[in-house]
């Protein structure tokens, strides 16, 4: 890492009793930024895909049955292995994607599977009589979906989805197995050099907390507001 080298050579602002330097900060910030980007990209792509897949599974028997093996595999194989498999697969095909994109794709698919389960459960929780009532008032399928089924399904699915999003934030750390330096991997690099494991890990832990906590806080407020 070029930046790491510079950090070692230019010895400015050495913290007392520590091998850490202020110049390590940009390196950590870069890692943090990558963690955030991975979460945002995989979170939004995965959710979008998951909503569509969840609706397909709930609406068409062919999708419900056809997707079962795929979903079981994604849910039961540890993510860390999925990263390695996707990465090896692209090498076999002779493709050369940035590890960032391998990470985004793998995490998105994982997130999509979790989201599709939640969307399905959400849609199932809406009494069919309510859709019937909507149709009897002259609403089309999509009008009923938009104004009745979706708002009610979201209320059921929201807590689980927030949980999945928070888990995803932490799971981004696993992208390091294919050589991508996100926050946790950056921390490891610094720990190896400075032997300040406790301090660095506490800082990194705090960072994860700082991005996850507002999400769950906001979710709790939203849940309360949507409560019926």
């Amino acid at each position: 890492m070029a930046r790491l080298q510079t950090g070692l050579n230019v010895m400015q602002f050495v913290l007392p009793y520590s091998g850490l330097q202020w110049s390590d900060l940009p390196f950590m910030l870069e890692g943090a930024w990558r963690t955030i980007m991975l979460t945002i990209m995989a979170g939004s792509l995965g959710t979008l895909l998951g909503v569509i897949v969840g609706w397909l599974r709930e609406t068409f028997v062919s999708f419900r049955i056809g997707l079962i093996p795929f979903i079981d595999v994604i849910r039961s194989v540890p993510l860390i292995i999925q990263f390695i498999l996707v990465n090896s697969f692209q090498s076999i095909l002779g493709l050369q994607f940035d590890p960032f994109w391998i990470g985004v794709v793998t995490l998105s698919i994982y997130m999509a599977v979790l989201t599709s389960e939640l969307v399905r459960a959400g849609l199932q929780s809406v009494r069919p009589e309510l859709s019937r009532a909507g149709r009897s008032l002259g609403m089309s399928y999509w009008q009923g979906f938009l104004h009745i089924r979706a708002p009610l399904a979201i209320r059921t699915a929201l807590p689980g989805w927030i949980g999945a999003l928070i888990a995803l934030t932490k799971d981004t750390a696993l992208v390091s197995v294919i050589g991508y330096i996100e926050l946790l991997r950056a921390a490891q690099v610094l720990i190896n050099r400075s032997n300040e494991a406790l301090l660095i890990l506490a800082g990194v832990g705090l960072f994860y907390f700082v991005i996850c906590y507002p999400v769950s806080l906001y979710a709790r407020r939203l849940e309360r507001r949507l409560a019926i």
Partner: protein, 241 residues
């Protein structure tokens, strides 16, 4: 006018409607009575096209309900229906429940829809419940809300499917009062009910349904006081006992 001609309907191999002929004229109140499981609900659902039929025809103002080229979403605006179970949209206030379909289906403005909804809520005696969510309403209030919601589409016909059956006895009266009010305003109604007294007093005609067929149909007082069919007599004896 609603015209039902020789309608047959089955769920898989279970024949539920087995050749029904019935006409409901404009301004008339027709009460449908009969044992549970005899197909009354199914018939109402066929009339507004929620259920397909296998044979026969149903026409509403000359439009064939089950014809391929019929715009059902449009036709259903003519037919209000209120079900036995409360079907208020739980995520919407009373006012929003009533305003939703006019706004979405008829595409009137939000302000107009709210004014319309407000008017219909007042009409059924829920003027002070506009901002209340259904979970805070009693069963009787929820059924009146459902009636207001259907009326807001300004239908020509109202179909009621045992709208008081799920209610506590002390709440039945307020809903039946609402139906009587609609009759006095000249609304054409088909009312499925177990309440023979209500059917005799409010219905113009009564049709007795048995095993997917109309066993007897006639003027309300006649069917109750002087039934022609032995089956009707037995049924009335059972429910009035």
């Amino acid at each position: 006018m609603i015209e039902i001609h020789n309608v047959h309907k089955a769920f898989g191999s279970l024949k539920v409607i087995r050749g029904v002929d019935l006409e409901i004229k404009k301004g008339e109140v027709l009460c449908l009575i009969g044992a549970s499981g005899s197909g009354k609900s199914t018939l109402l659902q066929c009339v507004n096209g929620l259920e397909p039929i296998q044979q026969g025809e149903i026409q509403v103002d000359g439009i064939s309900v089950h014809a391929k080229d019929t715009n059902l979403n449009k036709l259903r605006q003519k037919l209000g229906i209120v079900f036995q179970q409360y079907n208020a949209f739980p995520h919407l206030t009373a006012l929003e429940n009533v305003a939703l379909a006019p706004r979405v289906v008829k595409r009137i403005s939000k302000a107009e829809a709210r004014a319309l909804a407000s008017k219909h809520l007042k009409h059924v005696g829920l003027g002070d419940k506009e901002d209340v969510f259904p979970s805070r309403l009693s069963g009787g209030q929820q059924q009146r809300l459902a009636i207001a919601r259907a009326l807001a589409m300004e239908p020509s016909y109202m179909l009621f499917d045992e709208v008081t059956s799920a209610l506590d006895p002390e709440l039945v009266g307020e809903v039946l009062d609402t139906l009587r009010m609609l009759k006095s305003e000249g609304m054409t109604m088909v009312v499925v009910t177990h309440d023979i007294v209500f059917a005799r007093e409010t219905g113009d005609r009564i049709a007795f349904f048995k095993d997917g067929r109309i066993c007897e149909v006639g003027e309300a007082w006649q069917v109750v006081n002087a039934p022609r069919e032995e089956h009707t007599r037995q049924f009335l004896k059972r429910v009035l006992a």
